[in-house]
Symmetry: C2
Subunit: 285 residues, 2 copies
């Protein structure tokens, strides 16, 4: 399909030439399902690979440090073993990236007020902005709290904001950071599996008026290590996906070339999260 | 979709309740495309991961062997470094598995007569058979040769045969091994991207009358490391996929629960292969 496919993100209302036929719904549903299935397959492979790699590295690092125990920097072997250790540590970072994408980063969950978290970040966010960009806050009052790792949430916000700024590099403009509640209709193009009985979410949205993305770029924007990413859609996004995954959340993206991008991160409200767990999340066969 | 989706492998003729509507073709095409895209994404991730892992391991193994150079088994460090070496070698096997799945195994391509190769394997294949299974050869005469690594082809044949036998464990029966030529119609549910101008292939088919697979199992049968595989569809199949990928080939599977499985491996005829190369193969965005 790629660019030739009907863009599931584009709204039909803007295109009077498109009259939705009876087959469109089935096609849209199939495409949305395939998309989630592809992401699930990537997460499964990344999780398995990161896990196995970690086991190898633990054995390598353990034995290397035993071998180094009674050595000093003057010993001839020392620098070789130091190299082994440094390489194994870099490989561990790589394994951690894979596990983060797979939603298996260690999270310290606690009750978080999303709006308060963003207000606390204001100073930090202003320094992230490039000078032609302006940040507008639209934070809903009275949002339910979510269960989250605040440090990981900050990674989500700064990564998304950095991508907004990069996509507006040439033009500058307004970036809106918004929170609110959202009820899924079932017609959204999501990145993670959803439980059909649970439709209400707290969302965090970052919306820019930058260069936007075509359908294929939108589909692949959270893929790990892909080199064909659109400018302004960098590597940090695979981490964003993984963190959202670990938080039992979901993602909705709306974008079109030269029409900006909106990324909505959905979190289950705190009371619902407590009943679930990352392990119990419905997995795709 | 999983089991609820229209089975793209099932033939419509067997189901009088299914009247193909105008939307069916689009749905079928979309599903086939998504399937290839998912496999491509897995191959890209496996390739990237295997490649990076290999680089780390080369540095680890190189420095470990330098450190071990003037040590003997009597030295206290020796056994720790031996452990490092052994672990890194196991990790290298893991990296090789990832690279094989990604179609990046080293292949020594030469002109191969598929029929002759199978006849040479007869003795070997008979020993692979479990005692209630019978192997029937239907080898086409006069097939064009293919460019292949004969050792890798043998891995394909023995892996597929082993899977046939496992799926017929309870019942036994006939397994057909067949070769021939095949023209793609464009309606096949494939596992690898195809170039639309090149439709003729030499095929190798293994067909059993075993327990078969449902749609979801068929889709995932070549996935790397998936633990939810159907019985009789083991890990070797990810290697089969990767070898076919390295050979610029393709795969067609027809199966249904309790109705056996046919796996057709397609190879471009030798003259076409020479013009292409694994690097020039059309990649999916």
């Amino acid at each position: 399909m790629g660019d030739k496919s009907p863009n599931p993100m584009a709204s039909k209302e803007n295109d009077p030439a498109t009259t939705p036929g009876p087959g469109d719904d089935a096609l849209r549903t199939a495409e949305a399902h395939s998309h989630v299935e592809r992401m699930e397959s990537l997460a499964a492979l990344a999780g398995k690979t990161g896990h196995d790699l970690n086991n190898f590295l633990m054995a390598i690092l353990g034995n290397t440090s035993l071998a180094m125990m009674d050595l000093t920097e003057e010993d001839g072997h020392y620098r070789y073993l130091k190299q082994v250790e440094q390489t194994a540590n870099r490989a561990s970072d790589f394994a951690r990236e894979l596990l983060t994408f797979a939603g298996k980063a260690r999270c310290a969950f606690r009750e978080v007020d999303l709006g308060a978290l963003i207000r606390e970040m204001e100073m930090l966010l202003e320094t992230t902005l490039t000078n032609k960009c302006e940040l507008v806050y639209e934070l809903a009052g009275d949002l339910p709290s979510i269960q989250a790792d605040a440090a990981q949430l900050r990674i989500i916000v700064t990564n998304l904001l950095r991508n907004c700024c990069e996509s507006m590099e040439a033009t500058g403009g307004r970036i809106v950071i918004r929170t609110g509640r959202l009820e899924l209709s079932g017609r959204e193009f999501l990145y993670l599996p959803r439980s059909h009985s649970e439709n209400d979410f707290v969302f965090l949205e970052l919306k820019d008026c930058g260069i936007g993305m075509d359908n294929s770029q939108v589909k692949h924007m959270f893929d790990p290590f892909f080199s064909t990413k659109a400018k302004g859609r960098g590597r940090g996004l695979a981490n964003v996906y993984g963190i959202v995954r670990a938080h039992l959340g979901n993602i909705i993206v709306e974008s079109a070339p030269n029409a900006g991008t909106s990324v909505k991160i959905l979190f289950p409200p705190s009371d619902r999260f407590k009943g679930a767990s990352p392990q119990l999340f419905p997995s795709m066969a």
